[in-house]
Structures are given as structure tokens and as C-alpha cells.
């Protein structure tokens, strides 16, 4: 009989939930903490490193470019100082020197020209045919004529092509002469263009007014505001390098690193997508998060599985404990009944004895002379004898009950089970007659001894007989008990011709609490106790049944070892 499911079910469900929750919390919390903390630490230190690295890079490039400019300037100054005015005024001379410069410096110098204090280009060597050009109104000239040397911003100029110039002023023979050279924009640009880091990093140069001096990469544009901000920041820094993280015009988070060039006239700006710069970290973070999610998933799944399994085990153990308790209670009940029976038997014997004695006394008196002629004398005697007989019967019944109810002695010794069977049959006789059942016994008289506990065996037997009687209660029938020897086993069977047991019950019939009797009539423990006792002795119990024909229980018990083994022939 299954335990009522509902209260236990919700109890076990809540137990499962609690277990799952605890496991998840305990496992995930440190996991989350560790992952979170490590990621955070890593992120800040990584970002720091990246920024530092970029700054270093820009510093290098700043030095590079500044170095380039200074070198060109020095070259020109040296050049200027090395030659006299006459030499410089010669066009062929200048052209020769230009070729030499170009050769030496890899075509960085585009052209070279000598300009007088009025802005008139006296001599010109170069591809643009700018001889005799007038620069008196040019911006650069106005500035160059006032300084020792001058490097201009990038501008289109007379030639209509972006370029910038380096100009050196020198006093020759009392006048200021300017020697000017144009730097190949492409060459300069490539210096800056070649600064590429990562996938999206690129650099460009701006002047103080925010105008581009080199061609910026496509898309690497930010609004003037950012540049002004950078300029501002840089003005405040010591080494002229600083960094901002902001969204560019396209809305992408970018890192801008800037360095001042040409003594603050120009700004070298390097821009990179933040995602690109931090690519490594972002990848690591993705990996970590993936691992975390998978791990968390695994933990949750395991928590669910393990908890469910655990709770199932607990439920099973609880059920077994419940069964155990029930068995203990049943045993206790039986013990109490035994004690009760003993008390009752004694109580009954005394009144019965008194009745028998009184009847006997009457008999004694009737033997007196005065009753000899009484017509009913025979009848009196017969009746009194009957009382005597019935009294003896009471005695037998109570004696049988008492001998059965004596404290169960589990000690095993070699017994002849036939006598035990007969005792139990005697007890059940009355009930059988009541239910219209006739008991037939067919016991092998040469049955060898078996090692059993007599009281336990009788319990098994009584159980089987009672079950058979219960089955045949309505219509009556025949109960056949048979004992025989089979090889080295003693086999006895209890057969009835009652309604039989349906096939689907046969498998469960020895299960504890399994009963087909109505509530209160049977505990369902009888057969399971039988099973336990038989198994304990080392025997086997089996059942066969055919619906509407009957049921047979068969018990096999090992023969007592003290009995010599059956020999093949006669001794």
C-alpha cells in the first residue's frame, strides 16, 4: 500500500527547491565574485597598459617627426651657410645641389629657391617653374622674413598643390636673403600615414587652428571640439602628450592621443577605435563570460539533477523507515496480544475449573441412594458428563492459545516441522469449521529435521493458513497441507481452492503493506514477515495461483545439517 503521496510530495518538493537554491548560491557566488573581481582588475590594468603604450608610441612618433623637421631645418641652415650668395644666384648651381639633395635625402626636397628681402624669387631649382615668383604677399613670407627660420603649415600656394616649406634667413652682404625649400608632402604624409596600430588606428597632424596638415584616414574625423580640448589639455601637460576617450563624429568610442609638434604649432593626433585598442581585453572578457555562463549552466543543471536524486533517496529512506516503524509497532502489538492471551487463558481456566467441579459434585450426589430411582437419572448423568467434556475442551483451547502466545523464541534448533504443523492446524480447526473449510493434511512421516525457530515457523504457517481461510471465507472449500522431502530440502505447501490471486498482484504479494483486504482488516505485513523469516532460515517461499481455481504457497527449507545426507542405496 503506497503511503499517501500528497503531504510528502509537497514536503519533498520544497526540500528539493531548498537544496537546489543552496547549491546554486553557494557555488555561483564565489564563482561570480572571482570572475568579476579578476575581470575588473584585469580591465583596469590592461587599459592602463594600453594607454601607456599608445602614449609611448605617440611620443616616439612625435620625436620622429620633430626630428625629421629639425633635421631638414639643420640641413637647410647648413646648406645656406655653406654657399655664398654668388653661388646661390646661379641657377645651374642650385639645380645641381637640388639633385644632390634629392639623391641624398630620398626625394624629400621638392625644390629650392633663393628669395630676396622683397619677396622676389631670384633663383629657383625645381619642377614647378616658379622662377621669378613674387611672395611678398604670401603669408609664409611675411612670417619667414621676421624670423631666423620658419617652417610653414601645409598650404596650396602658387603651385596649387599641398606642401609646406622650410625657410632660413641669412644676412648676406648687408641684406636679408631667404633660402627656401619645399618638403615633399607625400613623403611627409607617409611618415604620419605609416603610423598604424591595430585595425583602426591612424594618425594625422593638425595645426593650432584645427586644420589638417596631413590627409586623415577615411572616417577618422572628430569634431573641432575634441581637437580644441586636446590642444587645451596638452598645453597643460609637461611633455606635450595627452589622451582623451570620446565618441567620434560617427559615434564610435575612440581614443585620441595627441602630441605637440613644431614647438606647439602642430598637433600630432592619433585616433583608434576604443574597441580596437582594447580588442585583446574584450576578447578575453568574452571568453571569461562564456566560460562563466557555461559553468553557471553546468552548476545549475547539476544542482537540479543531484538535488532531485538526493531527495529521491531521502524519500526512499523515509519510506523504509516508515515501514520499519510499522513493523516494530506490529511486533509490539503481537507481543501485547500474547501477554493478554496468557492472562485471559488463566482467567478463563479458573471459572471453567469451578464449573467442572460443581458438575462433578452433582454427579457425586446423584450416585446417592435417593436418586437411584429417578427417571431422569440417565439424562442427568449424560448432561453432567457433557459439561465435563466441554470443560476439558475449554482447557485444551486455552492451552493451545497459551503455548502459541508464549514469548517468541527465535532460537533455532532442529525440529520436526510436522508436529509444528499439526499444532497450528489444531488451533485453526475451529475457524476452518466455521468457514466451511475442511483441512486435509498429507505429511510425510519420514520427514527429516530442519533448523528452524519453532515459534517463528508456526507464525509463518499460521499466516498462510489464515490467508487461505480468509480467501475461502465466503464459499468454503478445501485446505490441503502437504509436506515432503525433495533432495536436500524439506518442502511443505499450503493449497486452497479459493478465488485465486490475479497475476498482477502475484509479483507484489510479498511486499510490505501490500494487501487486498479492506482497510482495518489486514496490515499487509503477514506475507512480508513470512518472507523475511523464510529467507532468514535460508529457505525459499513461492506462490502459484490460478483465478477461480486456487492458490498454493510453497515453502522450501534446508534440511538440518545434523541429519546425514540421503544415501543413494540402502545401507
Amino acid at each position: 500500500m503506497k503511503q499517501p503521496d500528497t503531504p510528502n510530495h509537497s514536503y519533498y518538493r520544497s526540500l528539493t527547491r531548498k537544496m537546489i537554491l543552496i547549491v546554486i548560491i553557494v557555488s555561483l557566488t564565489p564563482f561570480i565574485l572571482v570572475t568579476g573581481i579578476i575581470l575588473e582588475q584585469f580591465q583596469s590594468s590592461y587599459q592602463e597598459k594600453v594607454r601607456h603604450h599608445l602614449k609611448e608610441l605617440i611620443l616616439k612618433h612625435q620625436q620622429n617627426i620633430d626630428g625629421f623637421l629639425n633635421e631638414r631645418l639643420s640641413d637647410l641652415r647648413f646648406f645656406s651657410k655653406s654657399f655664398s650668395l654668388e653661388e646661390l644666384r646661379s641657377e645651374t648651381f642650385l639645380q645641381e645641389k637640388l639633385i644632390g639633395l634629392k639623391r641624398e635625402y630620398n626625394a624629400v626636397y621638392e625644390d629650392i629657391g633663393l628669395i630676396n628681402v622683397d619677396g622676389f624669387q631670384v633663383t629657383y631649382a625645381g619642377p614647378f617653374g616658379l622662377a621669378s615668383a613674387l611672395y611678398s604677399q604670401a603669408d609664409w613670407f611675411k612670417k619667414a622674413i621676421t624670423k631666423e627660420f620658419y617652417i610653414s603649415d601645409v598650404f596650396l600656394g602658387l603651385r596649387g598643390i599641398p606642401h609646406f616649406i622650410i625657410a632660413v634667413k641669412q644676412d648676406r652682404q648687408g641684406d636679408d636673403w631667404i633660402l627656401r625649400t619645399t618638403i615633399d608632402f607625400k613623403a611627409f604624409n607617409s611618415l604620419v600615414e605609416s603610423i598604424r596600430i591595430g585595425k583602426t588606428g591612424s594618425a594625422f597632424i593638425l595645426n593650432k587652428a584645427g586644420e589638417f596638415q596631413t590627409t586623415p584616414q577615411a572616417g577618422a574625423v572628430a569634431d573641432k571640439e575634441t581637437y580644441m580640448l586636446l590642444l587645451d589639455k596638452i598645453a597643460k601637460t609637461k611633455d606635450g602628450i595627452d589622451m582623451i576617450e570620446k565618441a567620434d563624429e560617427a559615434g564610435r568610442e575612440s581614443i585620441f592621443v595627441a602630441a605637440s609638434l613644431k614647438h606647439g604649432d602642430w598637433l600630432l593626433v592619433y585616433r583608434q577605435d576604443a574597441a580596437d585598442a582594447y580588442a585583446d581585453f574584450n576578447r578575453t572578457r568574452k571568453i571569461a563570460l562564456t566560460i562563466f555562463l557555461l559553468g553557471a549552466l553546468a552548476i545549475i543543471t547539476m544542482a537540479l539533477l543531484v538535488s532531485k536524486r538526493m531527495v529521491r533517496r531521502i524519500a526512499k529512506a523515509d519510506r523504509e523507515k516508515e515501514m520499519m516503524n510499522q513493523q516494530v509497532i506490529e511486533t509490539g502489538k503481537l507481543a501485547s496480544i500474547g501477554e493478554l492471551a496468557a492472562g485471559i487463558a488463566h482467567e478463563i481456566n479458573n471459572p471453567v475449573a469451578i464449573m467442572v467441579e460443581e458438575a462433578g459434585w452433582i454427579q457425586d450426589l446423584l450416585s446417592e441412594e435417593e436418586f437411584a430411582q429417578s427417571e431422569n437419572l440417565e439424562e442427568f448423568n449424560r448432561a453432567l458428563k457433557q459439561i465435563n467434556t466441554q470443560g476439558k475442551r475449554c482447557k485444551e483451547i486455552t492451552h493451545k492459545l497459551l503455548s502459541f502466545a508464549r514469548k517468541t523464541d527465535p532460537r533455532v534448533h532442529a525440529v520436526q516441522i510436522n508436529s509444528l504443523i499439526e499444532e497450528v492446524v489444531g488451533i485453526s480447526d475451529q475457524r476452518a469449521k466455521f468457514s466451511n473449510v475442511s483441512i486435509k493434511t498429507d505429511l510425510d512421516p519420514d520427514l527429516p529435521l530442519t533448523e528452524v525457530s519453532p515459534t517463528e515457523f508456526q507464525q509463518v504457517f499460521l499466516n498462510l493458513i489464515n490467508n487461505a481461510l480468509d480467501a475461502m471465507e465466503k464459499k468454503g472449500g478445501t485446505l490441503t497441507i502437504n509436506s515432503r522431502r525433495e533432495d536436500d530440502h524439506v518442502v511443505f505447501s499450503v493449497s486452497d481452492n479459493g478465488p485465486g490471486i490475479p497475476k498482477e498482484y502475484l509479483a507484489r504479494i510479498f511486499d510490505p503493506f501490500f494487501t487486498t483486504k479492506p482497510v482495518g482488516k489486514g496490515t499487509g505485513l503477514g506475507l512480508s514477515i513470512c518472507f523475511g523469516i523464510v529467507k532468514k532460515i535460508g529457505g525459499e517461499i513461492d506462490v502459484r495461483s490460478v483465478l477461480d481455481e486456487g492458490t498454493t504457497f510453497e515453502v522450501k527449507l534446508p534440511i538440518s545439517k545434523s541429519v546425514p545426507a540421503k544415501s543413494a542405496g540402502t545401507d
Partner: protein, 143 residues
């Protein structure tokens, strides 16, 4: 002369009364007691009692204890135990303590009678032996 002098001890009054009547009709001299204590008193009063029929289960002093006391104080008196609750153990214990025999209630009166006779015979034979021994002792004394 009665077949024997008998003390019947049982706490069930009707039983004792009817038993007394029946045994008296069969030529036994019956004295009744309803408790272990009373039985000892009666034995003290009437030394002629030869056989005691003793119920095992009695309140206060139970049969076994009474048996012990009887055997201690009146060792020659034979005791037949009547047990109403079929414990073989008490019967055997009684025999170990010196009871002559034990019977189960309800008992067959003729059976009981036979046992009483045998117990009385035993006692008398003991008595005679004792008397004979004493006589011998007296007669063999040197003047």
C-alpha cells in the same frame, strides 16, 4: 479412618468449597485455606495434615513461595501443585523444589484422588521409617 488428611489451598472460594465436598465424599479429611499465609497457619495448627493440594497462582504469597515455606517448615508434608495456566515451567520448578506432582486445572477428580493416595502413602512410609530409626537408636543405647 480417612484415606488421608489433606489441606486444600486456593484463592478461588467456590472451587475450594466444591472440591472439599467432593473429596470428603471420597473419604478424605479436608481442611481448607484460601491463601499461602493461611495454609502455613493451618499446617501449624493441625500437624496431622499429610498432603497439601496447592494452587500455583495466588495473590500475595504465590504457590511457589508457599511451597518453599511449607517444605522448609513442614518438610515431610507432601505437596501436589495445581496450575491453572498451563505453564510447564512452574510445574517443573515446583518439582525441583520438592513437590510431589503437579496437575492442570480443571482436573479429573479420580486422577487427583490417586495422586493424593500415593502422596499420603509416601508420607506414611517416611514416618514409619523415622519411627523405626528412632526405635533402633533407643534400643541400641547402652544402659
Amino acid at each position: 479412618m480417612p484415606i488421608a488428611q489433606v489441606l486444600l489451598v486456593d484463592d478461588e472460594v467456590p472451587f475450594v468449597e466444591t472440591m472439599t465436598k467432593r473429596l470428603s465424599k471420597r473419604d478424605l479429611q479436608v481442611v481448607a485455606a484460601f491463601s499461602g499465609k493461611e495454609s502455613l497457619e493451618k499446617l501449624q495448627e493441625i500437624p496431622e495434615i499429610e498432603v497439601v493440594i496447592l494452587d500455583v497462582k495466588m495473590p500475595e504469597m504465590d504457590g511457589i513461595e508457599a511451597l518453599r515455606e511449607i517444605k522448609r517448615n513442614f518438610p515431610l508434608t507432601e505437596v501436589i501443585m495445581l496450575t491453572g495456566h498451563a505453564t510447564v515451567e512452574t510445574g517443573i520448578e515446583g518439582m525441583k523444589l520438592g513437590a510431589f506432582d503437579y496437575l492442570m486445572k480443571p482436573c479429573d477428580i479420580e486422577n487427583l484422588l490417586a495422586k493424593v493416595k500415593a502422596a499420603a502413602a509416601k508420607k506414611r512410609s517416611h514416618d514409619e521409617k523415622i519411627i523405626a530409626a528412632r526405635l533402633k537408636e533407643i534400643t541400641s543405647r547402652r544402659p
